[in-house]
Symmetry: C2
Subunit: 370 residues, 2 copies
Amino acid sequence: MSSSADQYDEPLFYQVMQYARTADRDVVDMVSGNPDWEPPRALRAGLTTYADADVDEFQYPPSEGLTRLRESICEQQSIDISRVLITHGAAEANYLAMATALESYSGQEFVVVDPVYPYYPGKATMLGGTVTRVPVRKDGHLDVGAMQEAITNDTVAVICNTPNNPTGAVYRQSSLQSLAEFASTVDAALIVDEVYARFDFTGQFKTALTLAADNVIVTTAFSKSMAITGFRIGYAVFPSHLVDQAATRHMLVMVSASRPAQAAVAAALKQTGSNYYKETRAMLRHRVQSFIEGLETAGASYIRPEGAFYVLARFDGFSGTLRNVKRLIDEAGVAGMPGAAFGSSYDEWMRFSLCTDRTTTAGDRLAAFF
Amino acid sequence: MSSSADQYDEPLFYQVMQYARTADRDVVDMVSGNPDWEPPRALRAGLTTYADADVDEFQYPPSEGLTRLRESICEQQSIDISRVLITHGAAEANYLAMATALESYSGQEFVVVDPVYPYYPGKATMLGGTVTRVPVRKDGHLDVGAMQEAITNDTVAVICNTPNNPTGAVYRQSSLQSLAEFASTVDAALIVDEVYARFDFTGQFKTALTLAADNVIVTTAFSKSMAITGFRIGYAVFPSHLVDQAATRHMLVMVSASRPAQAAVAAALKQTGSNYYKETRAMLRHRVQSFIEGLETAGASYIRPEGAFYVLARFDGFSGTLRNVKRLIDEAGVAGMPGAAFGSSYDEWMRFSLCTDRTTTAGDRLAAFF
């Protein structure tokens, strides 16, 4: 057994959040990606209804997930129900995708972008795989040429997250199609994590389920889109030839996703119209704008997000180290994340989450500080 | 990566349940271990209250679990809170225990009893380990001598489940103490799954947390004790030197257990007195007795369970094959499980679950059939 989860460092998230929480002043928390807005109304109602259900509804659901929840997903995504597994959030979906790739494709190297959400390298190491990081372009988009160069016979999967955390880039369908085809030539999978799909400001996002390829695994969750990161409900869509393998691992590790949470999400998914997501996007657009105005006054460089809910910013002569992040907490009253938490190519930068209604205050404080 | 979950066969459970469900007659379902009794009242109330909570309570809880839930557990079990991880049911608890053993002890062989709950060998294979089965004694108890003989330098962990599914044996504390000590001499762990701890009819059960050893991992869940197998809330208690390793894997695969279910269980654990469990045991004792009367009339051999909620029975000249199980469904209207689902040493036997209020009917039908 070559697993070695101990090579995984606890994310800087926790250190920063802990520091901000114990600061001796008021701090605008722009560290965590925990939504601060309301879930769909039908979600609360669905949970209340479930609490009164007959006791047989408190027992094991089908391992692959509640049928009505899978059906709603398939209706929205136009895919065959047999390909969908309801998972314990995107965390399990990505774990299943990566473990299944290691079992079913050749090689053991995961190719990821830099900067990257740190759980992918953490999972890769835990599963006994290796990690190769490929810097993105200056605008946060995929450098497809550099990624193709990085893909070798030892590559087992390429992992992309779009809309992206932390850059906010919404990847082009043509880039993903190229990567899927290129991965295919070395017997590797393309894993696309679409957990921020509902937070696309460009109107251009298209799910990777529409790619013309049979080596694409799509992972996602309702954690962000329904403001329920603690519920732990997501799903993975596998190519038909990989479903049984993934379903077996899912059954052995989980049996099934938690049923109260599945029941609540099923109710919400059925009854929530596109307006709910539209209103959340409008609110986030407003937060982006108000925060960016402060950044401009502060003379910062920044990437305007095309999707998700984070802003990467860089301050001249004030790099994105943990030390400087702590200074901003103490002296400006704004808590962000060090860019180094996501890799080396953006370590001059800081990431600011928009999960707060005090983005104007935060922008003003940064403007005053710099 | 040596994982190969594809070597794991889907349990016979599913085949039998499917067959019973589509039978052309009324069938008493004694296949599944899904409780058919009510959860604690405070559990439903806890879930209803949670549905109205502020949105920040819908977000990620601490990865190791809600503090108030861990505190209640520690109060009951008299252990240090730092050793407790709230898991996604016993399934994740056992997965974490086995994976952590593989990472932290030497060897790759899991020693289990025969008959055995089939998920342990399934998980072992998935994790790249091997499995050695040691037949239990005729009364379902551990054959400690035979187990010690089976333990080698390649052994990474011994796995015991007490009260036991399927034999109903409640293992002696002295047997477990011997196994823990013996495992220690070959740098192996003892994993004790106590998911049926609340279903001890002998009054002799003691948690393995009281063993004098630092290589014992205890796993359990509220799935059976609170009649909520679908909620997926359990916990694992690790020796202090293994907690960080296990917590990292838990964070990478799960982030945390589902929060609505944790909140409901926390409320139920705080407010439910011992009477709830006592009443459930009394009801199950009654079911054992009524079913066994039928078995006696049928001339069957059986093991009277000391704990859990299953009865192993053997009918002369009618071995516990899948074919005979199907005959009983069609001709007697009683669905049990083939003993072969649990290994080879009890393949003459069938297991009957007591998760039905029609145990008298089932006993009568078996008596009439044989």
